[in-house]
């Protein structure tokens, strides 16, 4: 089933000369992991804000085209209906905190969508287990570390069990350990939950192996989109558009461009080593 369908989408913020995004067409399948890549100020956040309905409902500007989530136009849905279907984790976790303790933060969305209290309790236990934040419940969300803040932010959205979860640069403010922690959570969400994940990220090395589809936003348009193996072909094109393919992929792509390798382009190191080993073995002279 198609989770998100975008047709000829365009958006111009009020007071700006140019459209932030224009002529965007995209389809995202249900239960897939889509990564949105691209340089800063090229329309990534605008695109996901349109999917969430934040645009046009919370911003002024000019809208063109159509965005449908599970067949429903996002412009015709209320905040509660959208919150029920789509979760949104902001780049700055502090920007989304609205409560005075982590526990209140986690249950805030659940209360908004009208869940009964026993269900709220169950989901609170479930989500604190996933994000390992049970010991933070009594603390203020402003007094915990950056990594903990982002885990709380993700948990507060995940607790609502949306069918689609959008994460807008969830690791941009974290140290390497914090980033690893978030990617561990994302890996588990992809493996063990029926969830459509849309992640805006700059960390290509870590996000590429998780992706079913990668979208490159450049100058307000989709410059390239496709499954990872296809997306990372022609690394020179990606480089021109501000993207560096994962090193393992770029290495094999270089070999491919010199007709030394013909297989699919893997995105993680383990697969790349395996491909390179097979390649070396095939090039070894036979012992006879």
């Amino acid at each position: 089933m198609i989770a998100v369908s975008i047709e000829d989408l365009g958006w111009k913020y009020s007071g700006r000369k140019n459209f932030a995004i224009e002529h965007v067409n995209l389809e995202i399948e249900e239960d897939t992991f889509t990564s949105i890549l691209g340089p800063n100020e090229h329309g990534k956040t605008t695109l996901v804000s349109c999917i969430k309905g934040l645009i046009p409902q919370s911003f002024h500007g000019v809208w063109r085209g159509k965005v449908e989530v599970f067949g429903k136009d996002v412009r015709n849905q209320s905040a509660q209906a959208l919150a029920d279907e789509i979760g949104f984790v902001f780049a700055d976790p502090e920007a989304q905190f609205t409560s005075m303790t982590v526990e209140e933060e986690l249950v805030f969305g659940l209360e908004n969508i009208g869940l009964p209290l026993h269900e709220v309790k169950d989901r609170l236990d479930w989500v604190t287990d996933i994000a390992l934040i049970a010991d933070l419940l009594d603390k203020s969300p402003y007094e915990i570390s950056g990594g903990q803040k982002q885990r709380v932010a993700i948990a507060s959205v995940l607790a609502m069990k949306p069918r689609i979860m959008i994460l807008d640069e969830p690791t941009s403010m974290l140290d390497p350990l914090g980033k690893d922690f978030i990617f561990e959570i994302l890996t588990n969400l992809k493996k063990e939950h029926s969830l459509t994940l849309i992640v805006v990220e700059h960390n290509i090395e870590q996000v590429a192996p998780l992706s079913d589809q990668i979208v490159l936003m450049y100058d307000g348009n989709i410059a390239k989109a496709g499954p990872p193996a296809q997306f990372f072909e022609n690394s020179a094109f990606l480089y021109e558009h501000g993207i560096n393919a994962p090193q393992a992929t770029a290495f094999l792509d270089q070999l491919k461009s010199q007709n030394l390798y013909t297989g699919a382009l893997p995105t993680d190191l383990k697969d790349a080593i395996q491909a390179a080993t097979s390649l070396l073995k095939s090039k070894e002279p036979s012992e006879s």
Partner: protein, 318 residues
């Protein structure tokens, strides 16, 4: 949810690292404290046996009841009661010394004004001290008012020293205040904290670029503080926008109504059951408050003239 082997090892190692960091960075016997609006209270305190609404009533009782009491002995007893309560709650009373300058300044101001502008009347009883003429009625009224003010001040301080924002919100919500009101209050508390934090960041950034506040004049310092308002308000406006988006993203509506029908639940309130002791204490406080107000308004029982100390001084001067 169950994690795979690699993830479990990763998390376990992370938790061990965190635990070791905590163990090496904190003194072993340090008590765990919980930050309140004006101080800290140990995580384990008998105070938490009381419902937040009962604690809110202590603010209304101890912070307001002195308005009806001008007998200094009773107000001093109330202050002693407040200190006993704080001691019982295991609040670090030494932290209250930060209010000492305030109490001294208020005393100097009040007694100076009443000495310079006594508004002497023929029936007043004058007495001389250090060569200055005082009038008993004016002097004692200042003395009684000072202790009334102190009782109200410490009645308020005790509440904010023993309660967190969450306690206040739970108390207000328990009293069935509309959701939008409590939420507005919560956001106001949050924004004030962020405003101060932003100000600290801006000042640190200026100091990092070589600003030495001690070397500039008072006038220039005032100008500097005025200039802080520009980035602070810009940040505040941006934050307003962010919070608005966050509320939308989480399905918040100002009415608090649920589209699917039913009432918006309040999970946090379920964690704070009201017990018999709360009902008894609240009832007691309300009765005592009404009794004091009635006795003072109707009979003037707690007026200055009924103070034993005042009567003693009056008999000496008569």
């Amino acid at each position: 949810m169950r994690f795979g082997k690699i993830s479990r090892a990763f998390y376990t190692q992370l938790l061990i690292d965190m635990e070791q960091t905590i163990q090496t960075s904190a003194p072993p016997k340090q008590r765990k404290m919980r930050r309140t609006l004006l101080g800290t209270v140990p995580v384990v305190s008998p105070l938490y046996a009381l419902h937040p609404v009962t604690r809110l009533f202590t603010l209304l009782f101890l912070g307001v009841v002195s308005l009806f009491i001008l007998t200094p002995e009773i107000n001093i007893l109330l202050i002693i009661l407040i200190f006993v309560y704080l001691k019982w709650a295991k609040v670090d009373i030494s932290g209250l010394r930060i209010y000492l300058p305030l109490t001294v300044t208020v005393a100097i101001f009040m007694f100076t004004v009443s000495t310079i502008f006594p508004g002497a009347k023929p029936e007043y009883h004058p007495f001389k001290l250090l060569g200055i003429t005082f009038y008993l009625e004016v002097f004692f009224f200042t003395f009684a008012s000072y202790w009334r003010l102190m009782a109200m001040l410490f009645g308020t301080i005790q509440y904010f020293s023993t309660n967190r924002e969450r306690d206040t919100l739970v108390a207000i919500r328990t009293l069935k205040a509309p959701f939008v009101v409590t939420y507005f209050f919560s956001l106001a508390l949050r924004s004030s904290g962020m405003f101060l934090e932003d100000m600290r960041t801006i000042r640190e950034a200026e100091r990092a670029r070589g600003l030495d506040e001690s070397s500039i004049s008072l006038r220039d310092r005032a100008k500097l503080y005025a200039m802080y308002m520009i980035p602070l308000f810009t940040l505040a406006i941006r934050r307003t926008d962010e919070i608005s988006n966050a509320l939308f993203a989480r399905g918040y509506t100002p009415s608090g109504k649920i589209e699917k029908g039913g009432k918006r639940g309040d999970y946090i309130l379920t964690l704070y059951p009201i017990r018999n002791i709360d009902i008894i204490l609240i009832t007691l406080m309300v009765i005592v408050f009404i009794a004091i107000a009635f006795l003072q308004i109707r009979y003037g029982i707690f007026s200055m003239e009924n103070s034993p100390l005042y009567q003693l001084l009056l008999s000496r001067l008569s």
